[in-house]
């Protein structure tokens, strides 16, 4: 079920100074060079005043070399790294709201949920809201299976976040 990406994707992780307009500068750099961002996540980091932004983009090695260098040139960007998927631990969170018409639907959702070890975080007579944590592929495959059987009303995905595997890390001394 998991779709194989036709265009190679790469992960960029940034440590940036946290003030207004920084996100715009970073996103603008991608837009200006015609590069498609498939995932963009940014929030506080371990250091006060700095945010960590993790992005996924499509492109070959030439594209990501250029992006790496251009990111380095932005004054607010303190650190840039291109993460190779094999050296990174990656997670994504998704919330899915499904319509429940009858008991059969509920059973289908519950059994799928068990297989994927998801949690139910909200429930009404008409809907169920599920929380899925895992790799992007896992979410793709769960949502795919789900939508074949029940009506997926709403899907919210956090985008991929990642850290280096092992002792390596990207931080400010």
């Amino acid at each position: 079920m998991a779709k194989s990406p036709k265009v190679p994707e790469f992960l960029v992780t940034l440590l940036v100074e946290d003030h207004p307009g920084v996100t715009m500068k970073i996103a603008g750099m991608f837009a200006r060079r015609g590069i498609n961002l498939t995932s963009f996540t940014g929030a506080a980091s371990e250091k006060k005043g700095f945010s960590r932004i993790i992005m996924k983009a499509e492109g070959d090695s030439k594209v990501f070399e250029q992006i790496y260098k251009q990111m380095n040139k932005l004054i607010e960007v303190v650190k840039v790294k291109i993460l190779q998927p094999e050296y990174a631990t990656m997670r994504e969170l998704a919330l899915v709201k499904v319509s429940i018409r009858d008991e059969k639907d509920r059973q289908t959702v519950m059994s799928l949920n068990d297989i994927f070890r998801n949690r139910v975080i909200d429930i009404t007579t008409k809907t169920m809201t599920l929380e899925i944590v895992g790799s992007s592929d896992k979410i793709d495959s769960f949502v795919g299976l789900l939508s074949e059987r029940v009506n997926v009303r709403e899907l919210a995905r956090s985008g991929t976040i990642a850290l280096y595997r092992g002792d390596d890390s990207i931080f400010l001394d």
Binding site: G21, M24, K25, G28, N72, K73, I75
Partner: protein, 622 residues
């Protein structure tokens, strides 16, 4: 008592800005006032140290700051009001960004509590300048002012220079800065640490030297970076040591004396064919501080020309390396530091008596290439009854002194100037290279003249370009700035017309500027009268033999003088590279697509061919 003596009165935001500018000795401002920047203008009113040049358009202020920066090698400062004033600056910022000129631009902004309310003369300049500046700031607290200005100047001038823009809300200029020391002594930019030189670069340079010394046909491609990092002495020294021909981009004119036996001249679409030939024949191209734009590479798939040619690229901006052409040996370093290191290593090699002059035979071709480098002196009028632009260049070349600064607008006249004129000193040719901004030249010439008051400044303009900022005639009159303006008036937007002639079957869509020649001539505008309208003098020249006369009159004049030269209407800036063509093809003067080998002999590629040339002695460069 002691405490009272220690305490100084707090400065207002405007006073802090004034102090920062004075402390950093950036005392020349090009600007235009308006509502949101009034507090600052009020602060500098009557100041003896700060010199404000009131331009007639904010775009001109930006270009003038760039002209000032390029001519002096220092920071150029420009200032405008909010909204339309600041948006007018954007073209100038973009131009400076492309040509890596250090500019500090600041504009007023509506008061902080109004930002985002679509207030009168409000515009989002942080968003708008993002893509055309090296960095930008919005100051929301007077405590930040000193730091922001210091950082901005540092960022603009270091690494690869560029424009930095500061948005200054009106209340920030008015409020007091509640700090005893509003300007920090040190600044700390965690995310900005330009890599000028590293040990790794040193090792790469060693490889580069090996490659260059093994090469049969090495060429140095000097770009604007050589000029920006003031590496001209090092470049000349290296060339004298290695005996390698040098070609330059339009932004690098003057980095090596054009009369140097190894200087071949400008490369690119309108460059010298011999320079393009040298690069297409080269087996190693040592590129220093250039961007490999489409205008200097031609067809990228066939660049540089020889199938196994290697490219060494020295640039202070890592993002430029490998962006357009694949590079075999990247060196991230400042041009001056890299060239100094090269020279140092070469001297060590010489000490060990290693032969570094392996390219003796290469000289024969260079000498051949250097011949016929003069400017044709066409005394006759063209079939359309106008003077040939070559004639104007011929006379300009005669009147030009080594310290004179030549500024151009954008178009055919720019290409004639870049192609024919020779420069002996760096920073004496100022032009809009990357962005190609019509209207750049006149204000830039004003800036250059202010930076170098003792140099004669010549502006070469077309009738199209000059009209984009001709209002600056008022500025030169008011501030008594002397610029010799030479307008090549052919009644067309010449460069576009040339392309329409060559590639669009002479359909002159939107390029005819309505100039009727001979008989009852109609001129829109009459440039002589235009000059007179501003209280200046001008002269129209329609006789080729009077060109020199007019140039001398302009030179002798005490104030700005406008020369309008009635130029042959449909003359083309040829030879040129056909668009999309490789570096070794060219559009000849006769208007045919030809191969460069119709003009220059192919170089021998086998050892046997080389035998004959090994006996050639290297003449010593001056």
């Amino acid at each position: 008592m002691k405490d009272q003596k220690k305490k100084k009165p707090f400065l207002t935001g405007s006073a802090v800005i004034k102090k920062v500018l004075k402390d950093s000795k950036n005392t020349t401002l090009f600007g235009y006032p308006g509502g949101a920047i009034m507090p600052f203008f009020d602060e500098i009113f009557g100041d003896k140290q700060l010199r404000l040049i009131l331009m007639r358009h904010e775009q001109s202020a930006g270009h003038a700051a760039e002209g000032y920066a390029v001519a002096s090698g220092k920071l150029g400062v420009c200032v405008s009001t909010s909204g339309p004033g600041a948006t007018n600056l954007i073209t100038a910022l973009a131009n400076a960004f492309y040509d890596s000129a250090p500019i500090l631009a600041f504009s007023g902004q509506v008061a902080t509590h109004l930002i985002g309310n679509d207030a009168f003369q409000e515009a989002d300049l942080i968003g708008a300048t993002m893509a055309v500046t090296k960095h930008n700031y919005l100051v929301k607290d007077t405590k930040d002012l000193g730091r922001v200005f210091k950082e901005a100047m540092h960022i603009a001038c270091t690494g690869r220079p560029g424009p930095v823009f500061i948005d200054l809300p009106k209340n920030i200029q008015l409020e007091e800065c509640p700090l005893q020391e509003p300007i920090p002594e040190k600044i700390n930019l965690v995310g900005y640490n330009p890599n000028l030189y590293s040990k790794a670069a040193g090792r790469q340079i060693q490889h580069a030297l090996e490659m260059v010394m093994k090469a049969r046909y090495p060429v140095i491609l000097a770009g604007g970076g050589v000029s920006i990092s003031n590496a001209y002495k090092q470049l000349t020294e290296l060339v004298d040591m290695l005996h390698i021909p040098v070609v330059n981009t339009i932004k690098a004119k003057g980095v090596i004396d054009d009369y140097h036996p190894y200087a071949l001249g400008a490369i690119g679409m309108h460059g010298r064919p011999r320079s393009n030939f040298a690069v297409s024949e080269a087996d190693v191209v040592l590129a220093i501080g250039c961007r490999f734009t489409d205008r200097i590479t031609g067809d990228l798939n066939k660049y540089p020309g020889q199938p196994h040619a290697k490219i060494i690229h020295i640039d202070v901006d890592a993002a430029e390396i490998g962006k357009n052409v694949p590079v075999d040996l990247p060196i991230v370093a400042d041009a001056k530091l890299a060239l100094s290191e090269m020279i140092r290593q070469l001297k060590v090699l010489r000490g060990k008596k290693k032969n570094v002059e392996t390219n003796a035979w290469w000289y024969r071709w260079i000498k051949e290439l250097k011949e016929n480098a003069g400017i044709p002196n066409i005394v006759k009028k063209g079939p359309g009854g106008g003077i040939y632009p070559e004639k104007v260049m011929y006379e300009l070349d005669r009147i030009q002194r080594p310290r004179d600064i030549i500024v151009t607008e954008v178009g055919q006249h720019q290409m004639y100037a870049a192609h024919y004129l020779k420069f002996r000193n760096p920073r004496t040719f100022i032009t809009s290279g990357g962005l190609g901004t019509m209207g750049f030249g006149f204000p830039a010439a004003i800036g250059a003249k202010i930076a170098k008051p003792r140099s004669e400044v010549w502006l070469i303009a077309g009738d199209g370009s000059i009209q984009m900022n001709s209002h600056e005639l008022a500025t030169v009159k008011q501030h008594n700035i002397k610029v010799n303006i030479v307008i090549l008036n052919n009644g067309y937007l010449g460069m576009v017309r040339q392309w329409q002639e060559l590639f669009h079957e002479s359909r002159y869509a939107g390029t005819d500027l309505g100039f009727v020649k001979d008989g009852e001539a109609e001129y829109w505008p009459d440039f002589v009268k235009l000059a007179e309208a501003y209280g200046l003098k001008g002269r129209r020249v329609s006789n080729p033999n009077k060109v020199m006369d007019a140039l001398e009159e302009a030179k002798a004049s005490k104030e700005t003088f406008v020369i309008e030269i009635v130029t042959e209407k449909e003359s083309n800036a040829l030879p040129m590279l056909p668009p999309g063509g490789a570096l070794n093809s060219l559009y000849s003067r006769e208007g045919e697509v030809k191969s460069i080998y119709d003009y220059f002999r192919r170089l021998p590629r086998t050892d046997r061919d080389l035998q004959d040339f090994k006996s050639v002695k290297i003449p010593q460069a001056k």
